[in-house]
């Protein structure tokens, strides 16, 4: 059992890291990583929701009818998001204010529905729990890394601790919206250069399960949107 749990954790943290390898959940990745601390808060709250929803969906996998599984999953996820939101509002109000609208938006994070559909709905409770934990921690690590880089370049500090002296000019744009795009662009370019596995440079699996439903798509919105476009282009011809 421990071996399997470790395998799931390793899978989520390294092998199929949701941000660096699968490129899922881009909206929060870019939006909240203005500082390492925000990245950590967002990552941990997503990890909590992901772990709990994986547990619940896996426990109910034989009860939920196949046809209405998507609405059922969404309700389960939205419930846990509301719980996390209320807890954060009560105990970490400053982080709650910093993350703002992106906390309730965890509901539409592709990672969560993607894991529910691709893993939790087909596997027993314990592996699903560790799958959620691994994926959530992988997401957290990625957000903290991106947040730390942006905070260091744009503000000269990491986790609020000043590292660069005031005499050094900082590149303020890295804490603003455009900086997020630049950091991620350089990261994916680096992955392409080093031939590291990533959703942008590995040949995509032929038979996707999404069939136009983005939420049901384990390869996430981008793959799905590309599919839709290919289909559209086919129709045009």
């Amino acid at each position: 059992m421990f071996k399997q749990a470790w395998e799931r954790l390793y899978n989520g943290l390294v092998k199929e890291n949701p941000t660096f390898v699968l490129m899922l959940g881009m909206c929060p990745t870019l939006a909240v990583t203005t500082a390492a601390m925000n990245g950590l808060g967002m990552g941990l709250s997503t990890a909590a929701v992901l772990t709990m929803s994986n547990l619940m969906i896996s426990a109910l996998r034989n009860v939920i009818p196949q046809k209405v599984r998507m609405p059922a999953y969404i309700v389960i996820v939205a419930t846990f998001v509301t719980v996390v939101q209320l807890l954060m509002q009560a105990y970490v109000p400053s982080l709650y204010d910093a993350l703002g609208i992106y906390i309730p938006l965890i509901v539409v994070n592709c990672i969560i529905l993607g894991r529910a559909e691709a893993y939790a709905s087909k596997h027993p409770v314990w592996p699903s729990l560790f799958d959620g934990l691994g994926m959530g921690l992988g997401f957290t690590v990625a957000l903290v890394c991106i947040g730390a880089v942006r905070e260091f370049l744009g503000n000269g500090s990491v986790f609020g601790l000043t590292i660069l002296p005031d005499t050094v000019d900082k590149i303020a744009i890295f804490t603003l919206a455009p900086g997020a795009f630049f950091v991620l662009a350089c990261l994916t370019a680096l992955q392409n250069k080093l031939k590291a596995p990533s959703a942008t440079n590995t040949p995509k699996a032929k038979n996707r399960t999404c069939a136009g439903n983005c939420a049901a798509c384990p390869s996430g919105c981008m793959g799905c949107a590309a599919d839709a476009q290919a289909q559209k282009e086919g129709d045009d011809r």
Binding site: I74, A78, V107, F181, A185, N201, G220, A225, K232
Partner: protein
């Protein structure tokens, strides 16, 4: 009237939904390869966002608020949006085949477009009235339309350019988006 126009301008350009709030990035990056498809996606998003901000605003102010169920808003909104997208798709299929053929592919993708839920939640957070909510929804989706169409135009041009090997595909798209974000940042000083 002036405040409404100002709100429209603010939501569409200054606080652009994609480039400064990072909502709706998936379709923005995924469906912006061609101008035609990008415009289709933009129109579909405009219809759904405007309609959903009207309905969620009515629901919140008419049902959730009087019953003191505000904490249920995330769950209620996401279900309403999912149902609404289904309904719009069915209605289009039944009454307007050409429109369905043009927008049909994009509609299912919109349920998980975080811009839709984002606008609905924003309306609640800012305590917007019905009219303000609808204008906010329309302005935000107009911003999405502008961003995705401009992006598609740029990408069609970039496709013919000599891009460095490791920057091909996603990285150059993200760089373009970053430069667009800088350009839109300029609207802050209007």
């Amino acid at each position: 009237m002036t405040t409404m126009l100002l709100l429209l301008l603010t939501t569409a350009l200054v606080n652009n939904v994609v480039l400064s709030q990072f909502l709706g990035l998936c379709p923005f990056l995924g469906v912006s390869k061609q101008l035609k498809t990008a415009a289709g996606m933009g129109v579909a998003v405009m219809c759904v966002v405007t309609l959903s901000s009207a309905i969620t605003s009515l629901l919140y102010n008419g049902v959730l608020l009087p019953l003191k169920l505000q904490y249920m808003n995330t769950i209620v909104f996401i279900l309403v949006i999912a149902a609404l997208v289904q309904l719009v798709e069915m209605a289009l299929k039944r009454y307007s085949r050409p429109l369905y053929a043009a927008l049909g592919v994009y509609l299912p993708l919109i349920t998980t477009n975080c811009a839709v839920l984002g606008v609905a939640l924003q309306n609640v957070q800012q305590e917007n009235g019905f009219l303000t909510s609808v204008v906010n929804g329309f302005g935000t989706s107009l911003g999405f339309f502008v961003a995705i169409v401009v992006m598609a135009g740029l990408r069609e041009k970039i496709a013919n350019n000599d891009v460095p090997e490791s920057f091909k595909g996603m990285p150059i798209t993200l760089l373009t988006a970053g430069l667009m974000a800088i350009a839109f940042y300029g609207f802050k000083f209007l």
